[in-house]
Assembly symmetry: C2
Homo-oligomer: 358 residues x 2
């Protein structure tokens, strides 16, 4: 048996709180019988009631840690940081800092989570800010395999400098290497055209830096639709652009689902054909199920923090916990730290900016 992995869970975060979190945690404990321990953080009374409701009890593997406060979904990050020192979110992060847990999962307020995680856990040496990275389904993924393109940053930062975008590329590449076992992940830079002539200054400068770096398998510019074509394993962009692009993609997927439902409801014939086609639609839904891709990592921190979507399902939250487990098993922060150190050393050794040696 491996050493047990302990995950601290912000049980109060998200739109549903314990109603989604607790069954997802129970599912995790059942699926990982030997090696996972969970600390549920939040209102003790409420959490005990929720456990009873699911016929579960506290145990060696399922602990409750009381926290008296909750960060609201619309609370200002600075206020959460200052006034909510005993929030379920903050206490979960403290458990990671003190080494009592190896990772934290939260479905809470994204801005507050980024700010609090950065304050409590600190960024790795050489990394100025954490970024949000998640995996998206693409043409190459199917209902079973988990392959997909990872995109960062998805909104932890707005207005990122080329230096920061370069750091995102390093972090995305190392994380994908570690978690997926891909030796040289293909890294693309999001731009508005594949030609050299297009793009803003920020993107052009980043491209120049990435072209110089042997440690990154930089494949050049990619466009918005390449988030789903599978041409890259990692796509790097500013948090503002990444966030808007992700939501635009979700919006267009929702529109298609809406129109499909409408088309099937049109008349008795379409209704019957809708029933006939149900198994196919279920398969389709499974392939692009946001729950299967739930669980974004805050990379660049000294420890592992996973952000779940605020309104995810039990299965979706379970998937976010799985992402945390995989990152603990792959030792992601240490690997990023090591790679960044190597790159910084190279830079010092190559201040004449000649191509670096791997």
């Amino acid at each position: 048996m491996d050493h047990p992995i302990t995950i601290a869970i912000d049980a109060m975060g998200g739109d549903q709180g314990p109603r989604v979190v607790v069954p997802a945690v129970l599912r995790t404990l059942a699926r990982y019988p030997d090696r996972v321990r969970i600390i549920l953080v939040g209102d003790q009374k409420l959490l005990r009631r929720s456990l009873r409701l699911h016929r579960a009890i506290e145990s060696e593997r399922l602990l409750i840690h009381h926290a008296s406060q909750v960060v609201e979904m619309d609370e200002m990050p600075s206020m959460a940081l200052r006034k909510k020192k005993d929030s379920s979110m903050r206490v979960s992060l403290n458990l990671v800092k003190s080494g009592k847990a190896q990772a934290c999962v939260s479905a809470g307020n994204t801005g507050a989570l980024v700010a609090t995680a950065k304050f409590v856990l600190k960024t790795l040496p050489g990394i100025s800010r954490p970024a949000i990275i998640t995996q998206l389904p693409n043409m190459a993924s199917d209902a079973k395999a988990q392959a997909g393109t990872r995109v960062l940053d998805l909104g932890a930062n707005v207005d990122s400098s080329p230096e920061r975008l370069f750091q995102f590329a390093v972090m995305g590449s190392v994380l994908t290497q570690a978690v997926e076992g891909i030796e040289k992940p293909r890294v693309g830079l999001l731009n508005i055209g594949e030609e050299q002539i297009k793009g803003n200054e920020q993107v052009k400068e980043t491209a120049a830096m990435l072209s110089q770096c042997d440690a990154i398998n930089y494949i050049g510019y990619v466009e918005g639709d390449d988030m789903f074509t599978g041409v890259a394993d990692v796509i790097v962009t500013d948090g503002f652009v990444g966030n808007v692009a992700l939501k635009a993609a979700e919006g267009s997927a929702k529109l298609i689902q809406h129109l499909m439902k409408k088309a099937f409801r049109k008349n008795i014939f379409t209704k019957i054909s809708g029933i006939i086609v149900l198994p196919v639609l279920r398969l389709l839904r499974k392939s692009i199920d946001p729950a299967r891709f739930n669980g974004a990592s805050l990379v660049g921190l000294r420890s592992i923090v996973i952000k779940s979507h605020g309104s995810t399902s039990v299965f979706g939250y379970y998937h976010a916990i799985r992402v945390a487990i995989r990152e603990v098993e792959s030792d992601v922060p240490q690997r990023i730290r090591h790679q960044v150190e190597e790159l910084l050393k190279e830079e010092q050794g190559n201040s004449d900016s000649s191509p670096s040696v791997e």
Copy 2:
């Protein structure tokens, strides 16, 4: 009969050139028998052959104007501007400038079209750069009605200042008013969250300017998915963000179509159900058919220039010509000029920045 509308068509532009353009033009002439004239601009010999192929002849309503050069799809805009003075694109724009046509349609190189159109036609007084605006399908649109959300800028500019974003809002609002007959189009500003706290400086400053302006029905921040929810008639954003978001949305729609095809091909049962469900899928495809939404306007110029997608179908190109006709009928550039003049007057009269009177 109204005065005839004359449209100059860059017949060589796009991936297909005359093969798509000529049948689309013939369709237009058939559908608008009284009031539209077309000038096909490009290689005379090639265009005559193409007309013969479609059993059409030159006439009062269908003229050919020779142009000896073609702007390549991957050509640098600055090179096209300097070296391609007799390109089908440039000559089409010249015809608009000289008043021989009221609008130009091109499926050519976007960067070259923006640069050449700006150089030949000039921007309206008070407008620093043109923007690309197009209509997207949303939850409220159906297969018949053309209602949809307009988004700008989609890539004519990168790194737009708040002043420029404000101009985009004015232009988008006036265009929607003119073409759709919506009295006070709802204008949203694209951001990464609806809360006041989020967003970058550029967006926050633009929001402050829009809140002060009575002439614009500003509804606040919207997110990426709102490009498809129908909460706004016009969504304003920087060209880099808009372009990436649009392509991300296209990418996710294509992924769903790809997965749907795959699901239907799985076995004999799914193949049969795919045939049964064909009419429904056709209806769905029609609702989100990119061809129906083809035809983006270069707003902010002194005349009308419509950009067709480079790889559109005959029906798609026909739709782009229709967009040109509608904008000529609605006198869009003059209305934008008028509105901008009013706003500039107000600003001079209200330099104490008190709320302006409409």
